[in-house]
Symmetry: C2
Subunit: 174 residues, 2 copies
DNA sequence: CTATTTTAGTTCACTGGTGAAATATAAATC
DNA sequence: GATTTATATTTCACCAGTGAACTAAAATAG
């Protein structure tokens, strides 16, 4: 039940009907926007499902992966907040739980003692290397029937959309 | 700070480096997947920002919109759960708050007394009609530089991806 | 230099969302 | 017709994420 196909069909109809009542509605845009939200939501669920056996949630995983991907293997809470789009409050908790599991360490920076350095441990690296590969097949399946052109197109369109969203938020702050 | 462009640049590099350490990584797919997650997250934030003045959150808004889009203006908690991909628990709370604001009513079904009928009120309809139009310009701006072909392509690719995700979750249940 | 402002991080209180158990009704089976 | 099974919703206890206030250290201005 409740597969995406059904949800999308229902949404198509729903937006159609709303457009009848409120003709100024930009129906095509609303549809694309809702599709993005719906798929984002679903992918997040799928990911969290894969993370559950490892007792990680999405933001903890993302934080750990950023550290793993760094040549130095370290970062600060502030920087991690930016790249994970998390609040500082939450990053404190994420760091707490990762530290408790010995996947990262947290030490005060000696140069700027306001700052804290979060660094992935060797155990953290091993953990990532072990948990990552089993997720590859699913990742592949997500885009199984996407040809090279499809992939390039989707990549291009998503980056274009990202540009527009950046403009939107800049305009909002100005 | 922390605009999407920077996040994406950082992600491109990060996935590149992880791919060097773990060559089996399907880098292109991982990138598309993360792009979807990132954009979904950003769009959700943008939406919630627009909803805040009306004291609604995303799931309350979505629930109300589904009711609004129905010819009968009504549904049941179970059905709303399916289409909003929310748990039943949360739908109870959503209904509670919408009822408290007199935007919907909640009455026991006479046919099947386990069921509950949730129906949008005239005030709820007026509320939607008033709050919706101010969001149209932003919605337009999101896809401002998307030509007709771009829109069609994005629509097609997202629906294709949805099909794959449905297969994935079906396979998981089987 | 010292006083003020800015920056980095944490703590606290709250909102939003979830899984497991409870409740109530309907449908199926014996 | 009684009993089991399935379905719909709610309640409860907990996890995840946020805004506001707080603490400490740098940077800057007077």
């Amino acid at each position: 039940m409740a597969n995406l196909a059904n949800c999308i069909a229902m949404m198509d109809e729903g937006i159609g009907r709303v457009g009848q009542i409120i003709p100024q509605l930009p129906a095509r845009e609303a549809l694309l926007c809702r599709l993005m939200l719906m798929l984002g939501h679903t992918i997040e669920r799928e990911l969290e499902f894969n993370l559950k056996p490892h007792k990680l949630n999405h933001s903890e995983f993302l934080t750990l992966m950023i550290l793993y991907s760094r040549p130095e293997g370290s970062s600060t809470p502030g920087e991690l907040c930016e790249y994970t789009t998390q609040g500082a409050t939450n990053m404190t908790r994420i760091a707490n739980t990762l530290v408790k599991r010995r996947l990262v360490t947290r030490v005060a920076s000696s140069k700027d003692r306001r700052r804290v350095l979060i660094r992935i441990t060797p155990a953290g690296r091993r953990f990532v290397q072990k948990m990552l590969p089993p997720m590859f097949p699913q990742l592949g399946a997500m885009f199984a029937n996407f040809g090279d052109t499809d992939r390039r197109q989707l990549d291009r369109l998503l980056r274009k959309l990202a540009g527009n969203l950046d403009q939107l938020s800049e305009r909002r702050l100005a």
